[in-house]
Amino acid sequence: MTDTALTRPGAAGKRFDLGGFIRQYGVLIIIGVMLVSLSLLSPSFLTPRNLLNILNQSTPLFIIACALTLVIIGGGFDLSTGAIFGVASVSAAWIAINVDPLAAILLAPVIGLVLGSINGIIVTAFNVHSFLVTLATSLVYRGMAILISDGKLIPVRIAEFAWLGRSKIELVNVAVIVMFGFMLLMMFVLNRTTLGRAIFAVGGNEEAALLSGIRTNLVKIITFAISGGAAGLAGVITVSRLSMGEPQAGTGLEFEAIAAVILGGTSIMGGAGAIWRSMAGVLLMALIGNGFNILNVNPFFKDLTTGVIIVLAVALAATGNRR
């Protein structure tokens, strides 16, 4: 109640609030520190080639984390993105071989969209927490991926199909361009559309949203559909890159995406957050991985380090909520 005073205009608080700044932009500060120290430690780090490579390798995670941000801001949780990624992977491979490579690229996100919508419909129709629903559907979808592929890898060696994952325009990978396009689209949706507003409202205070005439269930379904669609898109990019459809592809990806969103500083409670935060979260995780590579550190420490950084980031953010 009383910290109204913090925002009172003309108050004595004109002084620069360092603690608040660190809590707000902590992830960017850590990224900055990593960039500087990695470039000092290794001459091969700060090259366009290496930096683009980092982005390119993380493209699937960028896309999934981006869409997951909408789900989490909307007060939901999606544990099925890894499994949808797997379904997209094997169906894209199958369609590319048996139907048409271009159709595969276009249909994989649609398949993801449908599976995501199913998540959303179950969540809203039965009013079950999305954590439970997507935990269950992730098993179902993973099973589907295994059924579609008969449990085997599906090799796809088609040049027109590999284009999405492998080719470059000038120096930049097509996949990276697709990723940036998707990111800009999501930013636009979240910040400039009525849907974005509704997502924030549903996650921040569902009852208030309902009493403001927002179709809260529809909004939730849309966020899950977008998340599924993104997993589908990420899946097809990966198949196209590896020339291989894999039923177990994307295992654990859902946790990496959630970790990135949290690391970026989006509130797990819903109602607040930003796309750029999740992007920063993915980038930070990618930099840690890259740092281990170029410094030749034992990769066994990579997950450990990432985990510790997440705990520190979350703890730092939480100190701001305490008095």
């Binding site: 109640m1 009383t2 925002t7």
Partner: protein, 511 residues
Amino acid sequence: MTTPRPAVQVRGLAKSFGGTRILDNINVDIEAGTVHALIGENGAGKSSLGKIVGGYYTPDEGEVEILGTRVTRFSPRDALGLGVAMIHQELQLAPELNVVQNVFLGRESARAGILVRGDMERFEALERTCDFGIDPLAKVASLRIAERQKVEIMRAIARDAQIIIMDEPTSSLTEDEAERLHDVIRRLKAQGKTVIYVSHFLDHILAHCDRVTVMRDGRVVRTSPIAGETKKSLVDSMLGQEADILWPALPPPPESSVRPVAQLRNVSTNTGLSDISLVVRPGEIVGLIGLVGSGRTEVARAMFGADPITGGEYLIDGKPRQHRLTVRQAIAEGVALVPEDRRKQGLVLTQTTRPNVSLGTLKAISGMGILNHRIEVQRTREMIAHFGIVPGAVDGRVARYSGGNQQKVLLSKWAVAKPKLLILDEPSRGVDIGARRRIHDFIVDMASQGVGVLLISSELEEVINLSHRCYLLSEGRIFAEEPAGQLTVESALHSVFLEQNSHRNRQEVAS
């Protein structure tokens, strides 16, 4: 002159948040065995002072003595150890546990950490002092706010608190419930306990407190005995200027031949309403009077499409409805509802002023789903100026605003919708005097622009003075309709109680 030993002694207290001083050189003595009121506008620092005594905040400067012991560590736990318990505006109970479990939370009858019988007996002993009549086995989640508050008070007494701080205890109670709370306070006082009573309700303070400390802008204006104070003298000190408690003049009521903007005909719902018939005409302010649970809020929700109407007819602008009314349709028809709980039902506190103002009318400021940023900002600015919202930032953090300013943001949300029917459920609950006056002006202003207003408030004085006509409710039915000019607080309360008792009697006879 000898003064009794103070229960709480505060010397030179100061506290800042984020560089802003919210308490400055506070000196107060609170005598043992008295009911001591803390009053002031929102932001004056009365809640913060209460929270320091209750151990929730640590002061930057100054000292606090409780029953002669100087406080060295500020935490609710240490405060409790010294005999201070605080009862909050937002109650702090475990909703899934029952009443007894909550009352003895952390103090269960146990031997070596294993729960044993005995809590029920202790509860009954407590109940003999309190006489609240709460079902000890009821789950707290199923209790009304007034009852939860009683649980909190019992919890404080169970912990043997000598000093009980009550932060806005009556803000969510009806007049009769507040009366019962005051009986409890009287009993606590008779037992030698000290009560610190933080409130906006000057009538309650004048009737039930012994001494009062008036605060303004983080400082103590004065501490004086309540005898000799009047509402006006208190308000003058709070505002720092001469002030009159005035009700704005109402516009003339519309002719009864004017077509109602909203009409209910024998409406019933499964939220407990039966046979409700009422009309609201354009330019008219209609009040709903009843105890909590009488169905006031349910009428509002049914008219807004939030609860389905199961029987009877609801006409908006003379048109009967064929299908179930949804909130979306109600809004499209020009109905607006400012709900009673602004933090839970009204505002999205994770968001700033601008999106909160826009939330009910996103369509009006967008094309093909894309928001028009310029128009939105402009509209928000207009509302901030119109209501005098402070802080005046378009993207101010509403979660940190005072109650009055939060309420103004919520009113802005529906003011921009330009409604035909505006339903206000407790529009001035928990707001300071300045904001309250602005809200009253807004209500009258809407009516003079031809908006039909349905006003619900637990504060009878407010409904009676701001309405043209009132409906009296009890047990989900309207039992009387009166021109507001013919009602007084006493007469309205009297008939509401009489009706409730006779209804109970009838039920008893029937069964």
